[in-house]
């Protein structure tokens, strides 16, 4: 009987003594009712006693327990973990790279720089791509080249009799980030202009040779399509010319004369340095003005955020290029040792 009272005290009954006079009438009625069905209530007691609830909790404590839990760890919690003595000796994991790439390294291998658009950055993907690119570079030698250099590319061709196809031409475009890096070669074969788009890290490439290393005044030489064919004609059996060691890459300051119209593009509207000045017609001048008016945004030079976001920031660039430089040094040393061993065997 006493046990039953104790149990029911949780449900709001102010019962201290069942047989005492202080017990309210309602409570006594209930107890008497329960007393009549002892056998059934005993079973219920055994069942309900498995739930252990702390009824002495305050309202505030219950609220604390039922509050919405955030999706992150509280800063104090993390900080406590960081400062715990168990963390001693783990700061050696992050090794700082003392190696610094030369300042012009990013112009030699611009494809290692990520795409600067901050919305499409994916640092994990970039890292993985860089690793894949370096792995590809262990197999194939991708030399330093620029737009305007004359190059020869050998591609595997399943239908050719010797399963290879070699093409030589002037590099008229270069771009792309990461594994999607590309370049375009142009040459004139039997009086017909031919251009081929190559993916730099494509596994079908056998070799990339640089025949003549030089730069031109422009970043893209698509205007060669509208120049006399002699400017993009190169013999397929050109001998490679090596620059003296430590020499700077020469800039070819050749200025070309465009064919008369029609042209593929409106070259007069693009600020081209590698072509002779064009005789402008009034219509052309109007077009140039229109383009300048459309792009007239004098406030842009004061937009600091725009400048910051338009390129990968310098610190990040340094870390990326240092990583690439270090890997390349390792690769070159490996190549040298393998060459030396080959010589010894001979």
């Amino acid at each position: 009987m006493g046990f039953k009272g104790l149990f029911e005290s949780g449900q709001g009954f102010t019962m201290t003594d069942v047989e005492g006079k202080l017990v309210p009438e309602r409570g006594r009625m209930d107890v008497e009712g329960a007393f009549t069905h002892v056998s059934s209530s005993q079973v219920n007691v055994a069942y309900k006693s498995t739930h252990v609830i702390n009824y002495k909790r305050t309202r505030a404590e219950i609220g604390q327990a039922l509050r919405k839990k955030p999706n992150y760890l509280h800063y104090d919690l993390v900080d406590k973990h960081r400062s715990s003595p168990l963390q001693k000796g783990t700061d050696n994991i992050t090794v700082e790279t003392d190696v610094k790439a030369p300042r012009d390294y990013r112009f030699i291998m611009p494809e290692f720089m990520p795409r600067p658009h901050f919305e499409y950055r994916d640092r994990v993907l970039e890292k993985l791509e860089r690793r894949d690119m370096l792995r590809r570079r262990t197999v194939i030698n991708i030399p330093e080249f620029y737009v305007g250099s004359i190059m020869a590319v050998t591609v595997s061709d399943p239908f050719a009799p010797n399963k290879k196809n070699r093409f030589l031409g002037i590099c008229i475009d270069r771009g792309g980030h990461g594994l999607k890096a590309y370049f375009v070669l142009r040459n004139v074969v039997d009086g017909l202009g031919v251009e081929i788009f190559y993916q730099m890290y494509s596994p079908t490439l056998h070799s990339i040779e640089v025949i003549r290393l030089e730069k031109r005044l422009d970043d893209r030489l698509y205007y060669l399509r509208n120049c006399p064919l002699e400017h993009s004609t190169f013999s397929f059996d050109m001998e490679p010319i090596a620059l003296p060691r430590g020499a700077q890459v020469p800039v070819n300051t050749l200025k070309l004369k465009l064919n008369p119209k029609p042209w593929d593009e409106r070259w007069e509207r693009q600020d081209l340095k590698g072509i002779e000045p064009i005789e402008l017609t009034p219509k052309m001048i109007k077009g140039i003005q229109k383009v300048h008016n459309a792009s007239a945004t004098p406030w842009k030079k004061h937009d600091l955020m725009l400048h910051y976001r338009s390129k990968v920031n310098e610190e990040e660039e340094e870390t990326i290029m240092a990583e690439v430089y270090k890997e390349n040094q390792l690769l070159e040393s490996m190549r040298k040792t393998s060459k030396a061993t080959l010589k010894k065997k001979k």
């Binding site: 591609v155 061709d157 399943p158 239908f159 050719a160 196809n165 093409f167 590309y182 074969v189 039997d190 009086g191 017909l192 202009g193 031919v194 251009e195 081929i196 788009f197 190559y198 993916q199 494509s202 079908t204 399509r225 593929d264």
Partner: protein, 148 residues
């Protein structure tokens, strides 16, 4: 300023609309081979040479594929000097897949109804990618002097 300008603009609007709106497409060139595209015959067939001398390039009047846009190695129907001839596309100005050459002109080789070429020599380089296609193209490829 705006208020004083407003009536002037209103009076100009109809004529300005006529001046500024373009009645021609200003989108980027795609160089697609559709109907009425002008081509260049690159074999030494008599009819092709005569058309070149006249300065009248052949025009595509039908492309034998579902899309009706000619791709490398597709068969087309062209008009040459008022005659209908079948031809194969062997070079395109359009942007191509990686490692496939893009030519400065849209080139075709004329064939007869049996699929054998009308000329006996091709004067320009042929994309090496066509070698895998088979069919009537093998007859054309046997005339080629150079592959790129």
């Amino acid at each position: 300023m705006a208020l004083t300008m407003y009536p002037a603009i209103c009076s100009l609007t109809p004529s300005m609309a006529r001046l500024t709106s373009c009645y021609f497409s200003t989108s980027q060139k795609l160089y697609e081979i559709r109907k009425l595209a002008r081509m260049r015959i690159v074999d030494n067939s008599a009819i092709g040479k005569a058309a070149a001398q006249l300065g009248k390039p052949p025009r595509v009047i039908y492309v034998y594929n579902a899309k009706e846009v000619g791709m490398l190695g597709d068969k087309v129907l062209v008009t040459v000097k008022g005659e209908m001839k079948r031809a194969y596309i062997v070079g395109l100005k359009q942007k191509q897949y990686p490692n496939v050459p893009r030519m400065d002109t849209n080139n075709i080789v004329l064939v007869d109804d049996n699929g054998s070429p009308l000329g006996n020599r091709i004067m320009v380089p042929i994309p090496s990618a066509l070698r895998g296609k088979g069919g009537d193209l093998t007859k054309i490829l046997s005339l080629a002097t150079k592959f790129v």
